[in-house]
Symmetry: C2
Amino acid sequence: MPERLTRAFAEALDAADELAPFRGDYELPPDVVYLDGHSLGPLPRTAVDRVRAVTEREWGRDLVRSWNLHGWIELPARVAAAIAPLVGADADEVAVADSTSVNLFKLLAGGLRLRPGRNVLLSETANFPTDLYVAQGVASVAGSELRLVERGALGSALDERVAVLLLTHVDFRTGELHDLAAWTAAAHDAGALVLWDLSHSTGAVPVDLGGAGADLAVGCGYKYLCGGPGAPSFAFVARRLHEAFETPLRGWMGHAAPFELDIGYRPAPGAGRLLCGTPPILSLAALECGVRGVARAGIERIRRKSVALTDLFVRLVEQECGGFALASPREATRRGSQVSLRHPEGYAVVQALATRGVYGDFRVPDLLRFGFAPACVRFADAWDAVAALRAVMEGREWDRPELRRVARVT
Amino acid sequence: MPERLTRAFAEALDAADELAPFRGDYELPPDVVYLDGHSLGPLPRTAVDRVRAVTEREWGRDLVRSWNLHGWIELPARVAAAIAPLVGADADEVAVADSTSVNLFKLLAGGLRLRPGRNVLLSETANFPTDLYVAQGVASVAGSELRLVERGALGSALDERVAVLLLTHVDFRTGELHDLAAWTAAAHDAGALVLWDLSHSTGAVPVDLGGAGADLAVGCGYKYLCGGPGAPSFAFVARRLHEAFETPLRGWMGHAAPFELDIGYRPAPGAGRLLCGTPPILSLAALECGVRGVARAGIERIRRKSVALTDLFVRLVEQECGGFALASPREATRRGSQVSLRHPEGYAVVQALATRGVYGDFRVPDLLRFGFAPACVRFADAWDAVAALRAVMEGREWDRPELRRVARVT
């Protein structure tokens, strides 16, 4: 990199970008720099036609026959098979169903049963709050206990009472990456299972669940997988656990013979038993488009560009703007596809940026988050975002009462 | 009714039909008689534009800002408020989220906790199998017991160990209606709660949960509510139980202050605490269109026409076709919007009917099911369906090897 970064330098990086041909695969408003891929990925162009076809041609014309005629019945397994290589899994180890929270519940409750005599779910206070709510909910029915410690105390808290270590791969506040292989080994050394929440990694960071020997994982469909708002989630169970794994959430889709209408539940083979009720087909069809888009762009190329983009962004903020503390690791290998900054007026700054067409988001108390979906964000976008940030700060554009409200979804 | 029914008579009923103006609100192929409304309701025309707008304009253009800008964050509560009057509930007693199976799990587990000292979930062997799988799943974590008895033994099985009586309002095989008020009273007399599965009633049969004093209920979004394949489900908790009701499935959407990112879970007020993870917005938007269509047609008018349609269909089958046993109650007040027939070659007959454009469905071992979505099925459709059935039987059109396969989704 040159000593002083310029827009021309960013443009040169775009000209050499191996992912540049994929940007056109996404619908993006021309006047927006979209740095919220960690919250809601952009719309894949293929999803426009696909959602229309599923709605108008399949549901509208072929009606209930579409379950067979258009493969709705196989759709969860098809999407699962497309996600599997992105997380280092085999197709029969992944299921697509329900929300991330619901899948977490299945895996935490199922994991507890695989470690009889242990009843602690261990996690860190910095974990995604919803994950902790789910673990509290499991405790309320399963008699387990949620043990919450600071990150630095996780190792010593991994004792003989821990059934499942629950960690989120990419910290939602700072973007910091946990060492997936090391924590998996640590959990196993303590006789515990590990459950990884890959919500902020899948589609942006290559994950090798198989290589690490991980046990359980969940992930989100609507962030870097670009599956659309509230897209179904995925869940992973390592093959060696399939035989013994039981989910407490049992529905017809996860039954070994769903159309025999037996009174008794018999689980389907493999991760297919994690299916429960009928999946939301419109949303699931959009997710398939998102996942295929990530697969086409290639997760290794995505990671290379993600590192370059976030590196550039960090350096540009430091060059152009004062007053921000970097909340993310400076070293790219320790970071997901997200850069977080701290500023006491963070909420208002994010709002002011949005009025300039730069969409990031805010998390209490003072975090500005910028998530880079590498297949559709340009290096010049990073420059433009930082230029807008500089203008917002220099002009004190954030200092308007209507921007300084309580946060909602941003 | 005349002694001998004719197509002209059916046409005269259509000419006088107060719901006739609403048929145009649904997309239906001109060459299809659709009698599978109990499985997947047809596409409301309003959903075509709405799903496009949510996909292309909201997700595609306004991206994550749509949560506030287009009210995605309020969508579950808005749809819940629209469903509430269809089931005799107030808006704060209903939540729209997840699948019917997942909602059943929440309510069964939550109901158990409201009856400490009791650990039996009571249901009947004829209940919808998925409901029984869910109850088995609850038992696997909560230490409860699923007691399954024949319908005639339900009363005597309602003893002091029963925490929740779980019944489906309309029998999915026969269309028979349980007496909701009477069984609710019986459960209460025994000190138990009652949980109604309204999947085959909502949108076709008026339900008065409030009037009956019912405790808990779930229902399906994709049958008579016409919400689209796998549409989210709804759940009901009577207001008097809100304070004490706890769901084991806890996510950010059901938190009292979802954006404060507290470590501890605090439930939102009312049925809102039944929300869990992020809902599938495309599917939820379609559901809203379906629910509003039912509300416009009017549930009382829908029921009146449903009774007339199913009565006509039963009489036509008896007049035109031999060889079928009526599996549904003959008395319309004891029946949902469905007529079931028994025939040993039922599967092949349903397939042969479909080749003639008449869509019903089949359930093991010998049931042909015909579900009437009254806002979009004509009396002449009932005639045409029975005429096709007669032709199939007279021509032995079912007697072809390719039609006599194992059932899939039909």
